[in-house]
Symmetry: C2
């Protein structure tokens, strides 16, 4: 069933930057609905694209990190991830962030999905990168304000922790969601599913 | 396996509001790491809490909405959702937003999970509300700048659309992720799993 109504696209007009920070801009953007008399302004947050990495070890474990997060003022258990540098291929970012944060390096990497962290108020995307054959083989390279606990846990346990509410970062949960079909394929191939 | 390192909590000191919009504030917050000489400021976005609703019909379909999103300047297919009003119970918000956006009303509702849209730069939470027995029985009540296409699709199709990249909103994907165990239980009970 589908309703007959089709929402229209608004047309983007002028915009003004109202705040500028190290990791995002806030813009006031005028949008015009085709049926409305006057445009209206909406606030849009513009960060660079991000990556989140599902790193699978040869023993079928996932590599997770726990770190302090300033937005929630609390520790958070997550998949590794970070910011895509200007001009950088998100796949390269994923491999780089995994290596820098955890020292793990894989044998193959690919993008599983691209999501929007928040289409309502935010313009950027998050690329979900899947790294296979991940083993600890590089030196850690943490930024000055970063420090991590590195956890390597069986896939089933990582998924159970997410379902139990021990992983609450929306984008880390997206990474696990897009890893599920991959995991089911592997389980089926072994006759475990 | 777990690394011996334990990340420390930073202490929140002073903060200043640097931008104020209708739907979020941007704050500059000083945080002090216990081992660092000086505090450092980080930017934090403070929106109210949000809800996202998984609405299941008696025919085992999910109720989805397509709407124009200003952050991405594009149409987006999502689970219904919205902003928790001051003092409102998120469960009440979920039921209200579903009714206002789609006209669907259910027979039971509960919170499946609570996630953080972005622990790194954002303080708020999103409550995933599950509504069962949802049927179209109320009048639509759209806000002035809202209009929706309402789609009612079989659960398996909704999940397939998400995996295919037709649903990209991180929080809508979280809603589907937390609905999965519920769905698997129903499939198992019918001997379909």
């Amino acid at each position: 069933m589908t309703s007959p109504h089709r929402p229209q696209r608004w047309r983007k007009l002028d915009s003004r930057t109202v705040a500028h920070t190290r990791i995002f801009d806030v813009e006031s953007v005028d949008f015009q609905h085709p049926d409305h008399a006057a445009p209206r302004d909406f606030f849009v947050i513009n960060p660079p694209d991000w990556v989140n990495v599902v790193a699978l070890t040869p023993q079928e474990e996932l590599v997770l990190v726990r770190q302090f997060r300033f937005g929630t003022n609390d520790l958070s258990l997550e998949t590794p991830g970070g910011v895509v540098d200007a001009g950088e291929d998100p796949l390269v970012t994923g491999v780089r962030e995994l290596r820098e944060e955890t020292g793990f390096v894989g044998t193959a990497a690919r993008v599983l999905a691209v999501v929007h962290p928040n289409p309502a108020i935010q313009s950027n995307r998050c690329h979900i990168v899947f790294v296979e054959g991940a083993v600890p083989s590089a030196a850690l390279a943490w930024d000055p304000n970063e420090e991590f606990e590195i956890l390597v846990v069986p896939v089933a346990e990582a998924l159970a922790r997410a379902q139990r509410g021990e992983i609450t970062h929306a984008l880390a949960l997206n990474a696990l969601f897009y890893f599920l079909p991959e995991w089911e394929k592997r389980c089926a191939a072994r006759g475990r599913a």
